[in-house]
């Protein structure tokens, strides 16, 4: 609970920093995303009340930009590249395999909170296509058969 309070204190400070500023909602939401790892309803309500706008407005911005998430990330965030090169090299099959192994749809987090599965744009490692990243660690030249072994490491 106190950890939660501390997060709200940080958010309050960020809101104060932007007090009276036009277009303050974006930087405040970015800060909230940083602090909480996502922007849940309570946090959105808190922001709306603090800056005097409506929850609809906060939610509208939070769902418009893909950088904001409404659900907490898992401990490990998997990003499978669906950029052109990776896609041509079969990254969709890799993505499907992970989804099947973890029993989680793309964009969602496993019930135990361990993995979040995302499809991403180009990761800039086309030479290694198809590519995925797990919390900053890059895996290249993947085939679906590699997946169980890789996941087992986490």
């Amino acid at each position: 609970m106190s950890q939660q309070n501390e997060k709200y204190e940080q958010l309050k400070a960020a809101i104060e920093e932007h007090r009276g500023e036009k277009g303050a909602l974006m930087p405040i939401l970015q800060k909230a995303q940083d602090i909480f790892g996502y922007v849940p309803k309570d946090v959105q309500e808190f922001i709306a009340e603090s800056i005097g706008c409506t929850l609809s407005e906060v939610y509208g911005v939070a769902t418009f930009y893909s950088q904001f998430t409404l659900e907490p990330h898992g401990e490990y965030v998997i990003g499978v590249c669906l950029g052109t090169a990776c896609y041509v090299k079969g990254s969709q099959k890799v993505l499907d395999k992970i989804s099947e192994e973890l029993k989680v749809p793309v964009g969602k987090t496993t019930p135990d909170g361990k993995f979040t599965l995302n499809a991403t744009r180009c990761l800039g490692a086309c030479g290694l296509a198809p590519v995925m990243m797990i919390n900053g660690e890059v895996y290249g030249r993947l085939v679906p058969e590699d997946i169980p072994g890789i996941l087992a490491k986490y």
Partner: protein, 581 residues
């Protein structure tokens, strides 16, 4: 004021600087089609229907394009017509085209534009279409995003006019929708049920929760005494549904039509309004004389009441404890009148015809059941009544005028003006003046509280006291007024607040008026005229002189604010959360 001259379709026009090309064209007698545009409320250039050729690289949206000197505008070129057509085709490609059964058919701005611009090839609209669940859980408002064209007029009115903002745009691109945050249903939000969003929707994406089936069923049930009462504002607008010019009162035809529909008694909420004045004026004088909470604020508008309970709960003690007129009328029908007729109150069903969608919510409030039975059983809007009249094959325009039934159908001029902003205040002042001074009020017109301005103030001499009053309509204006009271900047004895801009005449249940007509006239003022005409023509114009109201007190209630009156005619309020868990 700086004037700018420009040429539109070869016609020279001179307009003040800052005018939009759309408005300038109107002055030149050219109507540019619009869809998302709503004068003074939504001017965001989102739908691009109003594009024109100014010689610039691309076509420009004229609703947001200010005029410039010597500008040459073309509104009717093949390129412009084609662009508008494509916009309509794109909208239609993701629009549920169930026009045959849509409540807005023939009264739909999208349909009208398709017809005007000759968009008729329906085979071209194949491909992806979004499908959404219809949100019909609110007691007042149905939201059907399958028909929404994302014009954002509802968002603008909710946010900017009503200052509530429980709906907004969500997500992006093809998946964009309008609705409450977190995909909540409307009934899970702090929506006040005012229905202003319905009134501005160009299509059938928003409509009232239909209760006509329930009313038809009641009318068929011969074991029940089904009694109807229409609100003051209904008579100011119902005629529009049958082609009468806006602002034409149709009281006689309204009473006749209700009788034809089969209601056993056709009473009038105006009687309830006179009764409200008796109770409310007495309550005001009591608060003023005995150190009660001031300013006292009116409680007739259920949209306003829910707004107060949710957004300004600190003003709950200021709310008059009086029920709204139709609830008072319902309670009297089920007590005094049922007893008089020898009816079991359980067999008496009261139907209210209201200009209002929030009344549907109000009627379900558990505290509004003075006799143990709900004061009012069903609420239909002016629009729903029009549909019932049409369905029953009643030729409204040919109906001869009839009167309301005795005795809960008699009323004064003070009651009929309840439907316009300032009306309750004026009616209360007419009575308060005479009660306090014991003298006859010669000029009953209080012009200072009339008119469509959002906030009005006046000081009225009542005997030795200068009574300071204020009137606000729309919850946005109410919030402005309440803030000035809260800060101590303003002090009043009595405040009238109506949830909708202009009061009930412009309520969320009234006939739909297209954006084009809204841009040409002020519907609040036009409809209010009908009520002030009725008031002028009434032989009695003060509530306390209504002979049947007097009789009701003599035979049943005793005095205003008596114990019995409190039991039946007064209510309580609850603080409501802004956010639900």
């Amino acid at each position: 004021m700086e004037l700018v001259t420009l040429t539109i379709d070869g016609i020279q026009v001179e307009v003040p600087a800052g005018t939009t090309v759309l408005e300038a064209a109107k002055k030149a007698g050219i109507r540019i089609p619009t869809l998302c545009y709503l004068k003074d409320i939504n001017q965001i250039g989102a739908c691009r229907m109003c594009v024109v050729d100014t010689g610039a690289r691309a076509l420009q949206a004229s609703c947001v394009l200010p005029v410039s000197p010597n500008m040459v505008v073309k509104t009717n070129t093949p390129q412009v017509r084609e662009a508008r057509k494509v916009i309509l085709e794109l909208l239609l490609s993701n629009h549920e085209k169930k026009c045959l059964t849509c409540t807005r058919s023939q009264n739909c701005e999208l349909q009208a534009l398709c017809k005007e611009l000759g968009v008729d090839d329906t085979d071209m609209f194949e491909g992806s279409m979004n499908e959404y669940e219809v949100d019909d859980l609110s007691p007042s408002i149905v939201r059907d995003n399958n028909k929404c064209i994302l014009c954002r007029r509802c968002v603008a009115v909710c946010n900017n006019v009503q200052k509530i903002g429980v709906i907004g745009a969500r997500d992006r691109g093809f998946k964009s929708t309008i609705g409450p945050a977190w995909n909540m249903k409307l009934n899970e939000t702090a929506c006040i049920n005012c229905g202003q969003c319905i009134n501005v929707c160009p299509v059938g994406a928003l409509r009232e929760k239909d209760s006509t089936d329930n009313v038809w069923k009641l009318l068929e049930d011969k074991s029940k005494h089904v009694i109807v009462q229409p609100a003051p504002a209904v008579r100011a607008a119902l005629g529009e549904e049958f082609g009468m010019p806006m602002g034409t009162p149709c009281t006689g035809k309204l009473a006749a039509a209700l009788r034809r529909l089969g209601f056993e008694k056709v009473f009038d909420t105006d009687f309830g309004a006179d009764l409200t004045i008796m109770e409310e004026a007495t309550e005001l004088l009591d608060r003023m004389n005995n150190g009660g909470v001031l300013p006292m604020i009116t409680s007739c508008s259920p949209g306003w009441i829910k707004y107060c309970e949710t957004y300004y709960p600190e003003f709950i003690p200021n709310l008059s404890s009086c029920k709204s007129p139709h609830e008072m009328e319902g309670a009297i029908i089920k007590s005094y009148y049922a007893d008089k007729m020898g009816w079991d109150k359980k067999d008496v069903k009261v139907v209210s015809v209201m200009p209002c969608t929030a009344k549907k919510f109000e009627a379900k409030r558990p505290e509004l059941s003075g006799t143990g039975e709900p004061d009012v059983d069903e609420v239909i809007t002016t629009r729903e009544l029009a549909r019932m009249i049409k369905m029953a094959g009643i030729d409204f325009m040919k109906l001869a005028d009839e009167d309301f039934d005795d005795m809960l159908g008699s009323s004064t001029g003070a009651a009929v003006i309840f439907g316009a902003t300032g009306g309750v205040m004026e009616a209360a002042l007419r009575t308060a003046y005479e009660v306090v001074t014991g003298k006859t009020l010669e000029n009953v017109n209080f012009n200072a509280v009339r008119g469509v301005e959002g906030v009005k103030e006046a000081t009225v001499k009542v005997g030795d006291i200068d009574v300071s009053v204020a009137v606000a309509s729309s919850t946005g204006c109410a919030s402005q007024l309440l803030d000035s009271v809260k800060s101590g900047e303003k002090k009043y004895h009595f405040i009238e607040i109506m949830g909708c801009p202009g009061g009930c005449v412009n309520g969320g249940g009234q006939p739909i008026v297209s954006a084009t007509v809204r841009g040409d006239c002020d519907i609040r003022a036009e409809r209010a005229k009908a009520l002030y005409i009725e008031d002028e023509n009434k032989p009695i114009r003060k509530s306390h002189e209504n002979p049947d109201v007097k009789k009701l007190y003599d035979e049943f209630l005793g005095k205003p604010n008596s114990h019995k009156a409190h039991e039946l005619l007064h209510t309580t309020y609850v603080k409501r959360p802004k956010y639900q868990d």
